[in-house]
């Protein structure tokens, strides 16, 4: 049976989601049309609206409806601290800790040399512009501890070298409540390499 043009279009559109192939897309399309037409309408208008009103905050690069997002506009944050992170989800996680009250910059990705994702793809020009304001005294790199995250951290640190801004990277080691017996060797080895001096 040949699908109608509208259905065909819907299936094709759904396939733009990560991990969705033709079969899953068709199943989703049928579900929306058959069982949840209201939901489908809400979904379509929500997507249209989000595309229309959401842009990037001119300071932190996060998604925002305003030119400057509420976090960046807040007076309660320490504007001399800037934490560089890879994804908006990282910001949510860091905010949950309630132990950081500085500002953020979101790269929206990481360097991945073998996939051809280079410096131009992670908004470093905007980061540099942010630093040009002269308000930032310390940059904290909160990149992932993957090879791509390490590469990104290295690249950003090279960019900042000449600017005389204090630069740090978040620490790593055993997780909270971590027991040496159950932790993986890589983490434990890293914790040993980066051990902390207690008495001077």
């Amino acid at each position: 049976m040949k699908n109608t043009e509208a259905l065909e279009q819907l299936v094709d559109a759904l396939r733009c989601l990560p991990g969705i192939g033709p079969k899953s897309a068709l199943r989703m399309a049928y579900h929306l049309l058959q069982h949840n037409r209201k939901g489908a309408a809400a979904l379509s208008s929500a997507i249209a609206n989000a595309i229309e009103v959401l842009g990037h905050c001119s300071l932190c690069n996060n998604f925002s409806e305003e030119p400057i997002c509420s976090l960046c506009a807040s007076n309660d944050r320490d504007a001399s601290l800037l934490c560089v992170i890879e994804m908006p989800t990282d910001l949510i996680m860091l905010e949950q800790t309630r132990s950081y009250d500085g500002m953020y910059f979101i790269l929206m990705g990481k360097l991945s040399p073998l996939d051809g994702i280079g410096p131009k793809d992670i908004h470093l020009d905007r980061l540099l512009k942010r630093l040009d304001t002269g308000l930032i005294k310390e940059v904290i790199l909160a990149n992932n501890f993957t090879v791509g995250g390490d590469a990104t951290a290295h690249y950003v640190s090279e960019l900042l070298k000449s600017r005389g801004i204090k630069l740090s990277r978040i620490a790593r080691g055993l997780p909270m409540g971590g027991e040496i017996e159950y932790v993986d060797s890589g983490t434990l080895a890293q914790a040993m390499i980066e051990r902390k001096t207690i008495n001077h």
Binding site: P18, G19, L111, P113, L114, D115, G116, G118, P119, T146, V147, D150, A151, H154, Y155, E158, D184, S185, G186, T187, A189, Q190, I193
Partner: protein, 238 residues
């Protein structure tokens, strides 16, 4: 060790690259000691609680189990097995370059045991901060030789010994010859070729010329598609 030809256990491997596969899995390009380049699916490796999630990183020797008859195998287990190697800064960038070269040039499922050992030594050299240009030149030459491309350095095309202070033209697939004989390839000093054949890279001019020679030869075998990791290096210097 090998239970059947389709199931391999406790094999020493390096991970060259990983990329997402379906919702929660990864495809990992392995460089294995016994079987050369092998591609495996790591099922569920992108789940938050996956036990191997943190291990699927490049530049570490790991012990892997895998099975399968097709080109794409299934990864069944992964374990740490050696001292943690830490590549930092430019050494890390060089590591990416090595991995990209291998992915581009090595065919899958053909053993390159000697090259595996050389790769291992190269990663260790990078991790202890040996001079990067020299480490890279050695590896590039070794890689081409392992692939079966004869890079003759101590004799010219006609099997005459190379004269140190003579300028030659070096052409891929042919070797060194008299300047007058061809316009192809690149100009190179005899001493550079001899130094390279003796694995001696201390001389600045040798470093510079051997870099040009390897760039030309790798370009010849890689074709037109540029290396991404090299571009990153260029961006970093600029």
């Amino acid at each position: 060790m090998a239970i059947s030809q389709y199931r391999q256990e406790n094999q020493r491997v390096y991970i060259l690259h990983t990329y997402p596969f379906k919702e929660t899995s990864l495809i990992a390009e392995l460089f294995t000691e016994q079987f050369g380049r092998v591609a495996v699916v790591a099922k569920g490796a992108r789940r938050p609680r996956s036990s191997i999630r943190g291990m699927l990183q490049s530049f570490q020797v790991l012990l892997a189990n895998w099975s399968g008859k097709n080109e794409l195998k299934s990864l069944n287990g992964l374990e740490w097995c050696e001292k943690l190697t830490v590549l930092e800064g430019n050494a890390l960038m060089c590591g990416f370059y090595l991995n990209e070269l291998m992915i581009r040039l090595l065919p899958r499922d053909e053993p390159y045991t000697e090259l595996f050992h050389f790769y291992h030594e190269t990663i260790l050299a990078l991790s202890v901060g040996e001079e990067l240009t020299i480490v890279l030149r050695r590896f590039e030459l070794k890689l081409l030789q392992a692939l079966g491309y004869a890079v003759t350095l101590d004799q010219d095309e006609d099997s005459n010994p190379i004269i140190p202070d003579k300028i030659y033209r070096y052409e891929a697939e042919y070797g060194a010859c008299d300047l007058t004989r061809t316009d192809h390839g690149i100009k190179i000093l005899g001493k550079t070729l001899l130094d390279m054949s003796k694995d001696f890279y201390q001389d600045k001019e040798t470093q510079q010329q051997s870099k040009q020679l390897m760039r030309y030869l790798l370009g010849f075998y890689l074709g037109d598609k540029p290396l991404h990791s090299k571009q990153l290096f260029v961006d970093l210097q600029g």
